[in-house]
Symmetry: C2
Subunit: 259 residues, 2 copies
């Protein structure tokens, strides 16, 4: 890998099996997206559910009647241009595969969903240090008591990511991230985990724990793990997602999602 590789070249290496690892740190400055694939019968209600819960479930592109993107990249093949896929049956992961070609059926609908990677780069640029990035660990994520707006079978509570923010930078962190409304936007809570049902900040439900120093407070953002979590909880018969961390790397720049 060189630092000048384009997202299209990177996706080619993924499709050929040459690259098979988490995508964080590759193609910096380009939007990476979560993916959910649903059988057609669930897609309409999920779309409505996403619209009603746009902060945790920001759909950037929907692909139906095929498997090629047109918004996030020109004709990327969603069946093999992600490095790893998780196959779910009745809410349980039954396989992890390098391509999903043999699972594809024409009625499937692909949802590409925004991810906070997009605003993290901007936060760091604006002088807001992010410990999980500096330490190269996963962001800490928590189940909350914040209810999602239910639509048909889709329901549940929001998952949030937490970043310790220096006390003098809290307002700036809120404002910078608010400019990315399509990749989770501004925080859902500042400083008070107990108000959103988080009992032990030292034990995240997903990702890695991270130290909160004396001059910092925990700040919480809606998290793209939310829809995956909903899918697992409602146990629909069949669904496919990217494997956590193995994202779809798009041709769109983060800055295009800055509003």
């Amino acid at each position: 890998m060189t630092s000048v590789i384009t997202p299209a070249e990177f996706r080619k290496k993924i499709a050929s099996g040459e690259f098979n690892a988490p995508t964080a740190g590759y193609c910096d400055g380009f939007v990476q997206a979560n993916m959910l694939v649903l059988p057609g019968e669930y897609a309409g209600h999920f779309e409505e559910f996403a619209r009603a819960n746009a902060a945790p479930v920001p759909v950037l592109e929907t692909v139906r009647g095929g498997y090629r993107t047109s918004v996030l990249a020109d004709g990327a093949n969603l069946l093999n241009e992600l490095p790893s896929y998780d196959i779910f049956e009745n809410g349980e992961r039954v396989a992890r595969v390098a391509d999903m070609e043999k699972y594809y059926t024409e009625d499937m609908v692909f949802f590409l969903i925004g991810c906070s990677f997009s605003f993290e780069a901007r936060m760091v640029q604006e002088g807001i240090p992010l410990r999980h990035m500096a330490r190269k660990i996963n962001v800490a994520m928590y189940d909350t008591s914040l209810p999602l707006t239910p639509v048909d079978i889709f329901h549940g509570n929001m998952v949030v990511s937490m970043r310790p923010i220096r006390r003098d930078l809290v307002a700036k962190a809120c404002v910078v991230t608010s400019h990315f409304p399509r990749t989770h936007g501004m925080p859902v809570q500042v400083g008070y985990p107990e108000m959103i049902g988080i009992k032990d900040i030292a034990r995240p439900d997903y990702g890695d724990p991270v130290e909160i120093k004396a001059d910092e407070i925990p700040v919480f953002w809606a998290c793209g793990v939310t829809p995956q979590n909903v899918l697992r909880n409602i146990k629909i018969p069949f669904a496919i997602t990217h494997s956590p961390g193995y994202m779809f790397v798009s041709d769109r720049r983060d800055s295009e999602y800055y509003e």
Copy 2:
């Protein structure tokens, strides 16, 4: 006064002496501005000082070589269309007058400076309650240890206003106010008065004390009292300001300053 009076009609009543009271609550939705009038010899450095400290000193219009506005209103007379003026000599207020005609000299420069009234209306619209407005008291203001960027003789520390914000609305308060960069913008501090040199939150240096409830935290914004305070501290021989609360009511809508 009727509720449909225009700012131009309101200013006429002021000029004729028919209205002579604080302007808060009149011509809702229109920008109200602080005013500073300086002898020409100080104006250049003050202008530079304001640019270097745009959060506490956001100049919306500068008028020189005359006393009529062109940006905030079409030809308003700054000598008598504010309800009350304070005359300063060597940093001391020596008179409070209803018009400043007899003090006017052609070399004077008028600075009209943004005020947080503009974002407060929007905060309330967005569902963020503001106790000082509900109780019809003045906002609480404090001297801080936050140094201003000095230019020539102009120097000092920032004055801030404080509003208690419900813990679940803190991020929103930061974001809403950030959209008004020309009327102080986002908070300078969230939740930790001691970090900006405020020792006793219950005793504001200006304005009225306000209760902070258990589910709220104090949030601090740069305040338009800053330049007046600087003027008093550096004791220049002569200056004029509006009397606190007796603002210039402009023809510009608050929404024109939402970016």
